[in-house]
Amino acid sequence: MTLMKNLLGAAAAVAVTAGAALADPAVIFDLGGKFDKSFNEAAYNGAKRWADETGGKYLEIELQSEAQREQALRRFAEAGASPIVTTGFAMADPVANVSADYPDTKFVNIDGFLPEIPSNVQMIAFEEHQGSYLVGVLAAMASKSGTVGFIGGMDVPLIRHFACGYAQGALATNPGIKIVANMTGNTPTAWNDPVRGGELAKAQIAQGADVVYAAAGGTGIGVLQATADADGVLSIGVDSNQNHLHPGKVLTSMLKRVDVAVYEAMKAGGDLETGIQVRLGLAEEGVGYALDDNNASLVSGDMEAAAEDAKAKIIAGDIDVVAYYTNDSCPVLDF
């Protein structure tokens, strides 16, 4: 078996070598670190799944400083790695800069935006506003007080994008609903401040919110904890399925399948299609809401039906969830 695997592996390696130089993929994790229980960890899980399934090897680094962005890209490109998968919007500009010097290397960036995409770069964007819309629908239906909360991490356009989709979903379901939105902070530490997340959650509960959606990386852990400790309050997790963290207290989680994106990019290897912007929305199963044993008792049949209905309408184009980026503002929520 092992011999067979080795032989097959060797054959595969030869096949790859024939196409291009022997290329291991590489993953560059953003400043939050590989084990941030959120975005980067999802990327790591995708890479790990690829490695487990194919037995392949990949290079990786966790960035520690801004100046290392280009450094890491160049290092991996010079080591012959391809595709080089990068996470986080802050890598978009360095990728655009470096990719021109290494035309034979393929680059992938998740979450970034480039006005012109170089021919050897694939940009992956998630339609977070669509997934957030669905959890907004669920939140509005689950809320008894008529007030729902949103807690973001750092106040950046991406997080406003989450909040905007959520608010649209909640308002579409209950036009009279009150939405309380807070950001944790203005520095990168806002991604990893569970204590402040918990305080914000308590403040929102005091204002009457009985469903709180956290899109705040590690800060969200504190939000989920504070809502689980309070009576009759539910929370909504983000990025990966966080329902299991407090079974019966987490209404659902807004899924953003970064792991799938990383896995697919690494699997495609040399055949990765570049020069394009890939959008992963509801139709592509790139975003969604989590339903499992942990929250089965919280999501009624009606709620699931309403969410599925909204999902079908968004995919069909009957509901247009406005993206924050379109006008750099949100039609239903002020920041």
Binding site: L31, G33, I61, E62, Q64, S65, E66, A67, Q68, E70, Q71, A72, R74, R75, F89, A90, A92, D93, D111, G112, F113, P115, M154, D155, V156, P157, L158, N186, T187, P188, Y325, D328
Partner: protein, 373 residues
């Protein structure tokens, strides 16, 4: 003799401190199952073994020289400026505004105005805590720390709402025009036939930083105002008696300090990222405190300490890049260096000093005996 010789104070003690810090670091690396000797070798070759490594080491060092000078100039006046971080953030904003909105014909002109813009914004950010300290007695440590947070919020607001190009997700300004891009060492040295790594970010700002060291030295130790700053730092009441105005010295020292911290941004914002990003300072303002402590608040000492921290940053980055050493361990090494050179300095200093004094006394006694005989 009741003191140890000068060379022991400035060279031997730091060396012993560093050796201890590295010994413990190596023990930690061994404890997590990695080869400590290979790790040290990798750090040294990664940071100093190639023009690429030097390029990064000097790039980081440039940041630390500016912030280290900023902290030490205030410290000479007995003011503990913890706000280097916020002042550098504002300096970045000043540099960005100058680069984005003034059309420059050439980088040589651009860098002068950018230095001015960065220094002005940094100094302005230091001016408020300085005024509150001088006139109202609000402690500068508290106010400068608070101003770091205000600076972060202000920059975030400006980037997200005003300077960000439409449609971009990254809270960062547009790229600066080509004419403001500073030449790197590669560009500077290649006309002389010296090959320097093309991808290393060290740029002409390093030379500015070295010049800044000399200027700060002349200012502190060879000028009247420097003398006033230092005597104010040594004894406030004595300098007031001598006719030195506390308000004036507090303001001048803090403005100079903030200006130097702000000037750091010609390196990271104008020289490296070539656009204003949210996280451009990334703690250099705080590292500056350690650099100033280690450099004994002397410009030359700051220069050497900044090189050491540049080495730690780049060498540490290489460790995380090529060994399966978690990046947190690099912080442990940096922390140990700060701990031993800053906080635990006396642990080494006192026994060494005693040893020197004892040796000197013994020699004296021997001399006296010889004379008797």
């Amino acid at each position: 003799m009741d003191k140890m010789p000068k060379w022991a104070d400035v060279a031997l003690i730091p060396f012993l401190n560093l050796t201890l810090a590295f010994a413990i670091s190596m023990a930690v690396i061994a404890a997590i199952g990695q080869d400590p000797f290979e790790a040290v070798k990798l750090m040294v070759t990664g940071a100093l073994g190639s023009s690429y490594g030097w390029g990064y080491t000097l790039y980081y060092a440039t940041n630390f020289i500016f912030t280290g000078l900023a902290v030490s100039i205030a410290f000479q006046a007995a003011l503990f400026n913890i706000g280097g971080e916020g002042q550098a953030v504002l300096g970045g904003l000043g540099v960005a505004l100058v680069c984005l909105y003034i059309p420059f014909p050439h980088w040589t002109v651009a860098i002068l105005f950018a230095m001015l813009g960065g220094a002005l914004f940094g100094a302005l950010w230091a001016a408020i805590p300085a005024y509150l300290q001088a006139k109202r007695g609000s402690h500068v440590v508290i106010t400068t720390i608070m101003f770091n947070f205000i600076a972060a919020s202000l920059l975030n607001y400006v980037l997200v709402n005003l300077l960000r190009p439409k449609g971009s997700m990254d809270p960062a300004s547009a790229r600066f025009p080509e004419t403001t891009n500073l030449p790197t060492f590669h560009d500077l040295l290649s006309p002389f036939g010296i090959a320097f790594s093309k991808s290393a970010p060290v740029n002409v700002s390093f030379i500015v930083a070295v010049v800044a060291c000399i200027v700060v030295y002349l200012l502190l130790f060879r000028s009247r105002i420097g003398y006033e700053i230092r005597s104010f730092g040594q004894s406030q009441s004595a300098s007031v008696y001598a006719g030195i105005s506390p308000v004036k010295i507090t303001m001048i020292a803090m403005l100079l300090s903030g200006g130097l911290a702000g000037m750091m941004s010609i390196n990271n914002t104008m020289g490296e990222s070539e656009r204003l990003i949210l996280n451009s300072v990334e703690g250099a303002g705080f590292i500056g405190i350690a650099v100033a402590l280690m450099g004994r608040n002397h410009p030359f000492g700051v220069f050497l300490a900044a090189l050491l921290f540049g080495f730690l940053y780049q060498g540490g980055g290489e460790l995380a890049l090529w060994l399966s050493i978690p990046r947190e361990l690099v912080l442990v090494i940096q922390g140990l260096v700060i701990l031993f050179t800053g906080a635990l300095d006396n642990m080494i200093r006192m026994p060494v000093e005693r040893a020197f004094i004892r040796a000197a006394k013994r020699a004296e006694a021997r001399d006296a005996k010889q004379k008797e005989a």
